[in-house]
Amino acid sequence: MADRIADIWGARTPHGADSPWPVRVDQYLAEGVPEGEVQWVPSACVLCSNGCGMDIAVHSGQIVGVRGRASDRVSHGRLGPKGLFGWQANNSPDRLTEPLVRRDGELRPASWDEAMGLVVERSRQVLDEHGPLAMGFYNSGQLFLEDYYTLSLLVRAGIGTPHLDGNTRLCTATADFALKETFGTDGDPGSLRDFDLCDTIFAVGHNIAETQTVLWARILDRLHGPDRPRLVVVDPRRTAVAREADVHLPIRNGTNLALLNGIQHELIANDRVDRAFVDAHTVGFDQLAAIVADYPPERVAEICGVPAEDIRAAARILGSADRLVSTCLQGVYQSHQATASACQVNNINLLRGMIGEPGRTVFQMNGQPTAQNTRETGANGDMTALRNWQNPDHVADLARIWNVDPLQIPTWAPPTHVMQIFRHAETGSIRFLWIVGTNPAVSLPELHRIRSILAQENLFVVVSDAFLNETGHLADVVLPAAVWGEKTGTFTNHDRTVHLSVKAVDPPGQARPDMDIFLDYATRMELKDKDGAPLIPWRTPEECFEAFKRVTAGRPCDYSGLSYEKLRGSPGIQWPCNENAPEGTERLYADHQFNTDTDYCEDYGHDLATGAAHERNDHAALRTNGRAILKSTHYLPPHEAPSEEFPLLYTTGRTVYHWHTRTKSRRAPQLNAAAPEMWVELAAGDAERLGVREGDLVRVESARGAIEARAHVSGVREGVVFAPFHYGYWDLPDGGATDGDPTENGATGDGPGGNGRRRAANELTVTEWDPVSHQPLFKVAAVRVEKVADGGGVPSPAPTTTTARPVSGDAPGTSGGDGVRETVEEAREETR
């Protein structure tokens, strides 16, 4: 039995590019469960964007464990620590089991009729008095495709407001936009199998080891195999990924674009460009070359704070790769000039002519398990099935399928991003906000502001969730929602693999699936199509899926060849899946024809510097003819730079043991024990200057707020402070029960555990976003740090197993994930 808290990635099964990734089935059952009596229900993991196929163990009507599915194309049987232990949250005794309604300032239990009646009454009132632009909806990256598609139709065609976004705005909006800018439509071109086949990996701002543990296990098996791929890593922290790198570039946060321009400068200057490919399959090379000419390594070294020689070394590795897989994530997406930088990662593969072929691709990775589906269904800032909101033919086509007047669908401007939705609420023009399965009171930037908006008198807040979190405490109505394992639905991972997750157990109490809640709302609101029939004609997830198949037919994310039957227990099937590709499609753009035709593309593109939206004629003038677009722009310094008052750079991120605001992972004992409390990371040199030792209590302050946490002296870049974003207030004494701002209820600056002590990383982050993807900046802010209390030599609560590995080796190792069975199967042929 393995301890998968201590050994995050599990036993190695090394292999070379010429042999398939071996199968290793990971299983964890609660203690004492009779394995022979367990019923296994096919599903997939919802605790990161990898979406590993798994089976849920059910005994006596309860979820009692999970195991990876050996045949699964994503995981080959593996699960990560969150997948193995996270399911326990489902059984948590503090699940929401009945609706709550605010009466006399208190949230009190109510019937569904009462709660929905109130939601509908308030909706009607707002619609009558102010119209649909006063209605806002903010959802998640955790629901199923069927939930999202129902919501998308309900809001876009039913309510008719552009104010619908997902928290995917915080995680993968930039991936979405970078793919649209370069390739014409959303959808990662590659296959996860490309990691098995490549000879070089370029990881930019992507801490794979903690964000997608099973993917990192996959990569480790190559790195420890006979023909180790070379690895170039860009990250200001010395992550587990960086420790394996051939070249690690720990750049100053906020300078990605300068570095990536510099690398392209080297590729062009040293003639490492596949000119035949670039000439035949791209547009924009001359402009790109003119811009990156301004970024010789010496200049870039100065901007980024890394040696010019290391930049050259990185470019040499990328320039000599034969099978290059590039990948990026939040270090790019949540940083300065996000979309511009993400596009340069696309460009590097295009310059090398490495796309659409085995071992040659670029991954604009996702964070959340079902983020891809918010984008495909249009429950975030996109139009359903990767349609272009600026293209009247696309809108008319959607209106035809939905049987509504095209004018009913708001397409006069891009769908509103969440930061703008909150801004409209702040100024009072949005008066109704429904928040579904997400926790903005901890996850959005500048929390003091977010809490004050949610608490505004003139804003009616509905929250549907499985637990009463910090946001729920500020709501007027709280609706109890069913989660994974308690409902049936599909979702799609970052290499377009679709899984079906089958209902294993009943939801607790009166909790309902989100789709059912939306259907109930649509019925009560009497939302109709243009012939007076119910706007949403489906009642079951499968009927919804069938409707989604019809709306995607002929679009890039074509689901028309899929069915629940085909997906049940399958290894996972990649879209597009249709008549021509009944088993799905492993790689997009194998013919190097991209989705950039003006009539077909999802977006006419943007100016990367300002976010100015191009219009049809601008796009047509590019005469793409199916060629990819090399977008480029100049580096600009971040708006909030370190100053005398706030001399350090601040960045936030994840720890492997937690998910988001810990709604689930805090309730899984092994995960919680591994990372029980907030900490902040300082570089050894900075700690010494500040007189701070490991475990001391420090105060970190920005222009927007302050937090206190124990200091962890780690391998973060000098001058940079790192804070995990997971920790909020609900599990502190009185922390979550305060209906207003926690800082207003208790003393500020209390010692640890005191009421009112602020610890959420987003107290300090800045209200700012990328001009193109509108993804908020969580990785660039200026702060100062001071010591508050001596830790007495007790180490900080940071886990010792990953990036937060202490610089001095005397902390006890993080462990406590015993009881996981890993079964390695003999090598066998790939199924595809």
């Binding site: 401007a413 100024t427 023009s429 300002t610 976010g611 700012e768």
Partner: protein, 161 residues
């Protein structure tokens, strides 16, 4: 030949736009995109004026200098009132009005570049033409950004506001 006039026209229009951008960004501190992009775009205008300086000298146009220095008292006042305005229902209408004014100012710059571009071709000044081409494109992007933002804000202000 009145090349100097065409250069001065561009420089004056750019400096005017820069001034307006600075004002608007200080007035709308609660709109982070306007606040930050306003700064970037204003600096671009000032950069354009600098890039024309050698040509101003070549053609005998008077020297134009972008204003540099610490934020003025008025800016500080505007910023303070911007913070107060941030929560007000008046913020939206004022923003729309300011964006429209900026759009007109940007259009004045744009047409001044068109004129200078014509002049540069007529006098066969390849160097000047190169500068005009790049800067003109920047200005068009500024106009386009304003248009994008106006399209987004107008319905909210005028229908829901």
């Amino acid at each position: 030949m009145r090349v100097d006039t065409a250069i001065s026209e561009v420089q004056d229009a750019e400096l005017d736009l820069a001034k307006q951008l600075h004002r608007v960004r200080e007035r709308h501190t609660a709109e982070p995109d306007v606040h930050h992009l306003g700064n970037t775009l204003a600096h671009r205008c000032e950069e354009h004026v600098r890039r024309l300086a050698p040509f101003a000298e070549r053609y005998g146009a008077p020297v134009r200098e972008p204003h540099v220095g610490s934020p003025r008292l008025l800016d500080a006042l505007r910023r303070k009132s911007g913070e107060l305005l941030g929560h007000s229902e008046l913020a939206g209408p004022l923003l729309l009005r300011d964006l429209c004014d900026l759009s007109l100012a940007a259009h004045e710059v744009e047409i001044a570049w068109v004129i200078l571009g014509q002049v540069a071709q007529a006098v066969r000044d390849r160097e000047l033409l190169q500068v005009v081409t790049t800067c003109h494109e920047d200005t068009r992007m500024c106009e386009k950004w304003l248009r994008t933002r106006i399209k987004q804000v107008a319905p909210q202000v005028l229908v829901a506001g």
